[in-house]
Symmetry: C2
Subunit: 232 residues, 2 copies
């Protein structure tokens, strides 16, 4: 074997669908959201570069990409560390998400794409109702919620909104999971989704916006409740 086998398969000889920094960022992103890198942990360029067998240049760019998504914080001369947002900052992000989800769902309720969307929503929201009361951490429920959100965010047709909401969703997914960890909350959530579906059916943008905002605020409050309980 001429050269050490690459353990990570980052390099492909065929045309790359993703740039090298993007691939590195994706791998690091997984580790952060999965908790393999703990909040506050420092990420050193040299280590990442050696692991992926690239130089520090692409790694630097990858870390900048992660910073754009709010997953790491880059301080001058101190490098990147996994973000560890305070409860206040998490609340701030949820407030922004509430407003922008309101806009998103209004755009959908008032837009022409809602007619094709309604059957898909009906199916997913029905599954939400089915799985909400299941005991346990609710991973299945949460997966459906995340997919629903992605679907709606794409369907709204506002590209900039899509980018911002995507970034904010990544930053708060940890807390969204926390907030949906009890059957009671999931049932509350499922009721909200059904209300939203009805508002979209009716083409009622005002109602869609109000319901979306309430959903995110409920999510925020539930997460805050858990965080308070944990720290106590």
């Amino acid at each position: 074997m001429p050269v050490a086998e690459m353990s990570t398969h980052l390099r492909q000889s065929a045309p790359l669908t993703q740039s090298l920094p993007e691939q590195i960022a994706a791998r690091l992103s997984e580790r952060i959201v999965s908790g393999a890198y703990t909040p506050g942990q420092r990420i050193m360029e040299q280590n990442v570069a050696e692991e992926f067998e690239v130089s520090r240049g692409p790694v630097r760019e990858a870390l900048r990409l992660l910073e754009k998504d709010g997953l790491v914080m880059i301080l001058p001369r101190r490098g990147a560390q996994v973000t560890n947002p305070s409860i206040e900052e998490v609340n701030e992000i949820f407030d922004i998400r509430a407003m922008l989800n309101g806009l998103r769902d209004r755009l959908i309720a008032e837009g022409p794409q809602r007619v094709q969307l309604i059957p898909v929503l009906e199916q997913d929201i029905a599954r939400l109702a089915e799985t909400a009361a299941n005991p346990g951490p609710g991973d299945e429920y949460i997966d459906i919620v995340l997919r629903l959100n992605r679907l709606l965010t794409q369907a709204a047709g506002n590209h900039r909104l899509q980018a911002i909401l995507g970034s904010l969703a990544v930053q708060t997914v940890r807390y969204t999971r926390l907030g949906l960890s009890t059957p009671q909350r999931r049932q509350q959530s499922a009721r909200n989704w059904q209300s939203l579906l009805q508002a979209i059916r009716d083409g009622n943008g005002d109602a869609a916006e109000r319901i979306a905002r309430q959903r995110v605020i409920d999510s925020r409050d539930a997460a805050a409740e858990h965080l308070r309980a944990q720290s106590a």
Copy 2:
């Protein structure tokens, strides 16, 4: 002549307040918003590097910073070019700004900091009313509006919101100016600011949000009107 005199003074021997990429980004940012770089124009790393007498590394980072602010678009293997948003994209950004300005002004109307803020607002908004009807492009009026917005965005106390709104404001300042280019529009705008002031005095968050949204939507429509007139 031994070596070309440095025209830009980017390098200081004393401790740098801003990092090198930040300084480069600031300089390029000026040129973009001032129109020295035209929308769609390609910015080449080598050229910028030679002009500022640095290597391409910091320039690359500077361009990534500008991308984060939405001032340039970076395409793989094609480099950076000044963003040239379509009318639709500008409308999208204004919609987002409307929602987030609503949140911002609600936070202020409902927050404790409003009592210290009210005298400052009264002064600036009075000056708005004075200068609104002046003929001409309204540069003075627009300067006050921009300062007011900065003030409120900072005072709201939501750091993430501040970052997002700052970025969106930079991207739309060109169109904001366009929308405030007639005395009629400025008088409409001034009336809106006075309504906002009253809502903040009353501590009425709902009203503050509604008024803020309306203000941005008016701004959006006025800018769109001008753009339509221009292209016809």
